[in-house]
């Protein structure tokens, strides 16, 4: 039954859909409002750590350790008078009101305050312990935290390394994976099915099984302390990206190849003038995935670059920074924010490529 309906002429089906769509647009019913509100709340919860990171990264160390301080970056109020700086407190007055007064003469039993509005009116004496008083908070973001981090972790160097690794590794990945995917997608040869299965099965192989011999090889080649162990494997293709590219290439009509062949194009020519131009969306997806991969590089640099901190990429740099300055959350969070800014910007531009790439990996299997 279902198949009969699927095979029904396209036009009436389309018509029904648009009517339904129009109907949906018009009515903002209760159910829709409820569901959308719920989703907004869920999303707020999901993204709230970003807000917390932003807020923490702008706070002063004093505010973080003060109990009862607001969650937004702020400083306790102060009042400057005659070259001296005084803290401002919320003082409950005998008449039931609360006034913001500057503490000038602190005492155990009673203290002297000044009204910042009328400092010349003289001291106001207040009975009670000023230590029990709360302070008013004023919005005061500490943008300097970012500058501090910039200097402490050598941010430009880490960024340069990360981008360098991403670009070189990305070029290697795209070239090698495109070639391999083209081979699997367009040529018949003995053992093709088996080899493709073998390629896919490497996904199931835990990295620990190849770790020590590969490590030994790289040590003996003298590659420790260089980018080579991180970059060279990228030039030998990987299962995920080959799979992604091959699936996409299979959807390119063979007639295009044949037309080029009639014009006398060889396999390499066809790859460059037919396959690659028609595979742009997926090549962009692979590039973007590789960028994310490079931003996440942690274990390989830890292993091979422990003696060369100048070559570290950002993730390792951030983690090392945390090891040293873990007791200063404002700097950790500022560094965290600086780490995620560039991938987020890339995402905003390449959002479609990302999502399409994921759909290709996930569903076609």
């Amino acid at each position: 039954m279902a198949t009969e309906q699927l095979a029904a002429p396209q036009i009436p089906a389309l018509d029904i859909e648009t009517k339904e769509l129009r109907h949906r647009r018009r009515s903002l019913d209760g159910r829709s409002l409820l569901l959308t509100t719920f989703t907004v709340m869920l999303l707020a919860l999901f993204l709230s750590p970003m807000l917390r990171t932003l807020s923490l990264s702008l706070k002063s160390a004093d505010q973080i350790t003060t109990i009862g301080a607001p969650i937004w970056p702020a400083d306790p109020g102060t009042f400057e008078w005659q070259g001296e700086e005084y803290d401002v407190y919320l003082v409950p007055m005998p008449d039931g009101t609360t006034r913001e007064l500057a503490l000038v003469d602190p005492g155990r039993q009673e203290s002297g305050f000044l009204d910042p509005a009328t400092p010349d009116a003289g001291l106001i004496t207040w009975q009670g312990s000023w230590r029990a008083l709360e302070q008013p908070w004023e919005f005061a973001p500490k943008w300097g935290n970012f500058a501090e981090v910039w200097n402490r972790i050598n941010y430009p160097r880490l960024m340069f390394n990360t981008i360098g690794l991403a670009v070189i590794g990305g070029i290697g990945t795209i070239i090698s994976c495109t070639l391999v995917a083209y081979g699997f997608a367009r040529f018949r040869f003995r053992g093709r099915g088996f080899l493709f299965l073998l390629l896919l099965s490497t996904i199931f192989l835990p990295a620990a099984v190849t770790l020590i011999p590969t490590y030994t090889i790289f040590v003996n080649l003298g590659w420790v302390g260089t980018w080579l162990p991180l970059l060279v494997p990228a030039f030998f293709a990987n299962a995920y990206d080959v799979f992604l590219l091959r699936q996409y290439m299979l959807t390119i009509p063979r007639e295009l190849d044949d037309a080029a062949k009639i014009d006398g194009a060889g396999p390499l020519r066809i790859l460059l003038s037919v396959i690659v131009p028609n595979s742009w969306p997926v090549i962009v997806a692979v590039a973007v995935f590789h960028l994310v991969y490079s931003w996440n590089l942690y274990f390989e640099p830890l292993l091979y670059l422990s003696t060369a901190p100048d070559l570290h990429p950002i993730s390792l740099g951030l983690s090392k920074f945390n090891d040293i300055y873990g007791s200063e959350p404002q700097y950790i969070q500022a560094a965290t924010l600086m780490t995620l800014v560039i991938p987020m910007v890339v995402f905003l531009f390449a959002q479609r490529a990302f999502m399409r790439g994921i759909v290709i990996t996930g569903v076609e299997k």
């Binding site: 959308t36 990171t53 699997f184 040529f187 018949r188 770790l211 996440n296 995402f347 959002q351």
Partner: protein, 316 residues
């Protein structure tokens, strides 16, 4: 298929067809050669070498001559409670992380696929976005959220009168804590589930509705069976990933297993055996154990697929 075509009855130009097929095959091998070379040098040879290592006494700083020790490493493995504890820790975490990793993206995808939801495209992009955030940054952002005194999560729980645990330092809360810390990674799973949901023919829902199926009835009899290939795919890749869970506990606790050994995952133990204890041969044995466990579990999954995974395109 290729073989069949090669052996087609030879017609008049048998010779040229043969060389044509041969040339095509040669080009094919040439194009896939980067992977072949990489596979031989960086995968196959190391795997074999690791297997050979399990029968030797290789160490990071070799002091005694390398020699063949037979199955000593395997005997040590059988008597090593730490190895089995690490495997148990990994499996226990998998039992928590895998179901959440399946159900949560599925539920979110259903929400985003709902006809009543406004601005679905915007929500899709927003729920996906954190996927691209480097895991170290995500770990610090969420770790700070989970701070027992100042974290917002416990702050929110307090509104409901619940005093939240010290997520990442309490042995009984560490696994949920680790799942929370990894939440930003679910973006890709949401998109995969969403694409799967959009491929379910609406006719099936209409038919189920005619038969009187409610929300749960449709979920059980239409959505889940039609989504079973996607669930299977997520389950297999999720399993392979979670069995090698490693980087987050490494960054979080430098591989010490705190609190109370609950983060002493199999891969952490392998890493420590290699680089802290310097015992290459025993580490190789542990790596092979992990390999075998993953292999057995994946094969079990593939075997079970015939009972619950439904491929719509397949002839019944």
């Amino acid at each position: 298929m290729s073989i069949v075509e090669l052996e087609d009855p030879p017609i008049s130009r048998w010779e040229s067809r043969f060389t044509l097929a041969r040339r095509e095959a040669l080009w094919g091998y040439l194009f896939i050669s980067p992977w072949i070379i990489g596979f031989l040098l960086l995968t196959l040879a190391p795997v074999i070498a690791t297997f050979v290592f399990t029968f030797l006494n290789l160490r990071l700083n070799q002091q005694v001559p390398v020699r063949f020790v037979g199955i000593e490493n395997y005997q040590a493995l059988l008597e090593d409670p730490r190895a089995w504890e690490a495997m148990g820790v990994t499996l226990r975490f998998a039992l928590i992380a895998l179901p959440i990793g399946l159900v949560l993206p599925f539920a979110l995808a259903m929400l985003l696929n709902s006809k009543s939801l406004r601005g679905s495209r915007f929500f899709q992009a927003m729920f996906f976005m954190p996927y691209i955030i480097p895991f170290v940054a995500a770990l610090f952002a969420w770790g700070s959220m989970l701070n027992p005194e100042q974290g917002w999560l416990n702050g929110m729980l307090e509104w409901f009168g619940i005093s939240g645990p010290d997520w990442l330092n309490d042995p009984s809360w560490i696994y949920p804590g680790l799942v929370v810390v990894g939440l930003w990674g679910i973006g890709s799973a949401i998109i995969i589930n969403l694409a799967g949901l959009q491929n379910v023919p609406t006719e099936l829902y209409d038919a189920a509705e005619v038969d009187g199926a409610g929300f749960w009835g449709r979920l059980r009899h239409v959505t889940v069976p039609m989504m079973s290939p996607v669930i299977f795919y997520s389950l297999v890749l999720g399993l392979v990933g979670v069995m090698q869970y490693f980087l987050v506990p490494l960054v979080l606790n430098s591989g010490t297993g705190r609190p109370a050994g609950t983060t002493y995952f199999a891969n952490i133990y392998i890493y420590n055996t290699f680089f802290s204890f310097g015992n290459m041969s025993y580490g190789a044995t542990l790596a092979w154990l992990l390999f075998v466990v993953i292999l057995v579990l994946t094969l079990l999954l593939f075997w079970s697929a015939r009972f619950w995974v439904y491929y719509a395109g397949e002839a019944k």
